[in-house]
């Protein structure tokens, strides 16, 4: 055979190649990492002319061969050639070994608790000058976990259908979207908190500003979060309205991973801003349309939503997903428990909950329900039943509900009908009913 670059005419077809068996037989290349099917790319029939390959062409095919990316005819021709051509055989071996160095480096599933262990260890070694506030830590951790799930998703998985489920106050509700749509939803609703922190509203970039006609469109691209009347419509819109508007304004957002980067960058900016702003910022109001939460609770609410929707996504693509770490889950349950009295009162005003049994004025004792949440992150809460402002003590409990932390969170996410929440129940049935329905009513799209 000729040297590496000289054309040498034809090579025998197939690996049975002639008398020259002096070179070691090269085993076929290893198969690629991913075994999944290829939607939309039909298998291409092998070329018809197996005898047309000269040395130059065969050499150019060595990379593709090492990666198992040639047609059958080409593969056979190369393997035949390798037993005759020392230079190509050497290179083939080298390239095939190089394939072994290709690793899906970042696809490793790390223990999700490792992150907080590592970060806490670091904070002990060197105290941070700008710490992440404790109330922002669950959001930081949950967004990081979801992002790790998204990192290795294939293009087609972004299109996987996801059912968002919640309890609308009277019954279960649902809305279909895609994995991509869920991330857009998170981006849009997180934007409420971002706005309160003085960061640009993500919807102001993407919605074309058609609802805010007179407000001077040119400034909007700069994300003028501080302008008093800028984006009033969106500012006062609740999570569902914002989401629907975002989904409608940009159809790509339902089909591509495009929102992920914005969602992630906004999340980083929120945690960072909360860190630099210091304690007071936690008390600023975030408007959710119908109600407000202080920033510290709103970020906790967003952490909870992030987890709930991460589970929706994991279910849609058939991937396991853990619960948050105990301390964070405790904060989430605590937020839900604190929101229950106000929710019961609102339901009562709408005729959806029974009337108060005792008329109480602010600060006076009233009836309570003992909510016992079991497991990691659980605890005991005494929920005032007659007025959000009532002061309650364990002695005031007229009913007792016990359930597992995960079950409680599923209830509060609106994923289980209130009456089916597998709860240990004891005492005043109407009180129990009111609390379970109020818990489910905390959910929204």
């Amino acid at each position: 055979m000729t040297g590496p670059d000289g054309p040498d005419g034809r090579v025998p077809d197939g690996p049975s190649g002639g008398p020259s068996d002096r070179l070691p037989r090269i085993p076929p290349p290893r198969s690629p990492a991913d075994d999944s099917a290829l939607p939309g790319l039909p298998y291409e029939a092998p070329e018809q002319e197996p005898e047309q390959y000269d040395h130059r062409v065969l050499k150019s095919l060595l990379g593709a061969w090492a990666l198992s990316a040639c047609s059958t005819g080409e593969t056979a021709a190369i393997e035949g050639h390798l037993s005759d051509c020392g230079a190509c055989a050497d290179e083939a071996l080298r390239l095939r070994d190089a394939v072994g160095l290709l690793h899906p480096e970042d696809s490793l599933d790390l223990d999700p608790t490792l992150r907080s262990r590592v970060l806490e260890g670091c904070m002990v070694r060197r105290a941070p000058r700008v710490p992440v506030p404790e109330w922002a830590a669950p959001y930081d951790a949950e967004t990081s976990r979801l992002d790790a799930l998204l990192r290795d998703m294939a293009d087609e998985e972004w299109l996987a259908p996801v059912w968002l489920r919640w309890f609308d106050g009277r019954q279960q509700a649902e809305r279909e979207t895609t994995v991509a749509g869920v991330i857009a939803h998170l981006l849009a609703v997180d934007g409420l908190v971002a706005g309160a922190l003085g960061l640009p509203d993500p919807l102001a970039y993407d919605s074309g500003g058609h609802e805010r006609g007179g407000n001077g469109n040119t400034d909007r691209a700069a994300g003028s979060g501080g302008a008093p009347d800028d984006g009033d419509v969106l500012r006062t819109a609740g999570p569902a309205e914002r989401t629907e508007e975002f989904w409608q304004a940009d159809c790509d957002v339902l089909r591509t991973s495009g929102a992920r980067k914005h969602w992630r960058e906004q999340g980083h900016a929120m945690v960072r801003t909360a860190s630099f702003a210091g304690g007071g910022v936690g008390e600023l109001d975030v408007s959710y349309g119908g109600f407000t939460l202080p920033v510290r609770d709103a970020l906790l609410d967003r952490a909870f939503e992030c987890w709930v929707h991460a589970e929706d996504i994991a279910e849609a693509i058939d991937y396991p997903y853990d619960t948050p770490q105990g301390a964070h889950m405790h904060h989430m349950v605590d937020l839900a428990a604190r929101l229950l009295p106000g929710t019961i009162a609102r339901r009562r005003r709408r005729g959806l909950a029974g009337p108060p049994q005792r008329l109480t004025t602010a600060g006076t004792p009233g009836r309570a329900l003992h909510l016992e949440v079991e497991g990691d992150g659980g605890g005991d809460w005494y929920i005032p039943l007659d007025s959000p402002a009532a002061v309650v003590r364990p002695d005031d409990a007229v009913a007792h509900v016990a359930l597992d932390g995960y079950e409680f969170c599923q209830l509060a996410a609106g994923h289980v009908p209130p009456l089916e929440a597998a709860a240990g129940q004891d005492g005043d049935r109407e009180a129990i009913r009111d609390v379970l329905f109020a818990a489910a009513s905390l959910s929204r799209m």
């Binding site: 690629p32 990492a33 991913d34 075994d35 999944s36 290829l38 790319l41 291409e44 150019s60 095919l61 060595l62 990379g63 593709a64 090492a66 990666l67 198992s68 990316a69 040639c70 047609s71 080298r94 390239l95 070994d97 190089a98 394939v99 160095l101 290709l102 690793h103 899906p104 480096e105 970042d106 696809s107 490793l108 790390l110 223990d111 490792l114 992150r115 262990r117 590592v118 970060l119 260890g121 670091c122 904070m123 070694r125 060197r126 105290a127 941070p128 000058r129 700008v130 710490p131 992440v132 930081d140 990081s144 992002d147 790790a148 294939a154 980083h268 945690v271 960072r272 860190s275």
Partner: protein, 191 residues
């Protein structure tokens, strides 16, 4: 595959770490934890030990952000280098502590360290090779396209796709050809 960060990101990250911003460390972890853990695991072959090295690596970075010089290359390869060093140290320490060792055992340990540093070099090469080559490798290896499909998807000729695959693997194969560990210098290095 490799997830590179632009030089500006690297510089800003270093400044934020130096300022003692905890949120920056979280972002750094999200970006590089799997790199650090994978490399550690390759050396130590043990989950708990790799977790511990991961903690040590981020602890070192958090305490010594100034030891990274952006002029020396991407932060990713600096972190890979720190990981290599700490993981190899951990491996050697574990073996010293487990009593006197035979020359064969010693050689096994060093072989492991060498294989792991080859892997770290390979990671660096993939990170710093031209994006066009990396994309071709990703499509064929991880998404299992054949080279014609790859060519169509990248909008290039079949010849060009073959060239990119071969060149990409040639660059990668240079990771295996020189064995001294320490700082990797790959073909994409600009210095």
């Amino acid at each position: 595959m490799a997830n590179d960060t632009p030089p500006r990101w690297d510089r800003k990250m270093q400044q934020r770490l130096a300022r003692g911003e905890a949120a920056a460390l979280g972002e750094l972890y999200d970006r590089f934890a799997s790199l650090v853990h994978t490399l550690s695991h390759r050396v130590l072959d043990d989950e708990t030990a790799a977790d511990r090295t991961t903690r040590d690596v981020f602890g070192y970075i958090w305490e010594n952000p100034h030891t990274y010089d952006p002029k020396d290359g991407p932060m990713r390869s600096w972190i890979a280098g720190v990981t290599q060093r700490l993981a190899a140290g951990q491996l050697r320490r574990t073996h010293r502590e487990s009593g006197p060792q035979s020359p064969e055992r010693h050689e096994q340990i060093e072989e492991k360290v060498r294989a792991a540093s080859t892997a770290a070099r390979a990671d660096y090469i993939v990170t710093s090779m031209p994006a066009s080559l990396r994309a071709a490798l990703e499509l064929t290896y991880f998404q299992r396209r054949d080279y014609r499909q790859t060519a169509r998807q990248l909008g290039v000729t079949d010849d060009e796709a073959r060239r990119r695959l071969r060149l990409g693997l040639q660059l990668l194969s240079s990771a295996a050809s020189h064995s001294p560990p320490a700082q990797q210098r790959g073909p994409g290095s600009h210095r």
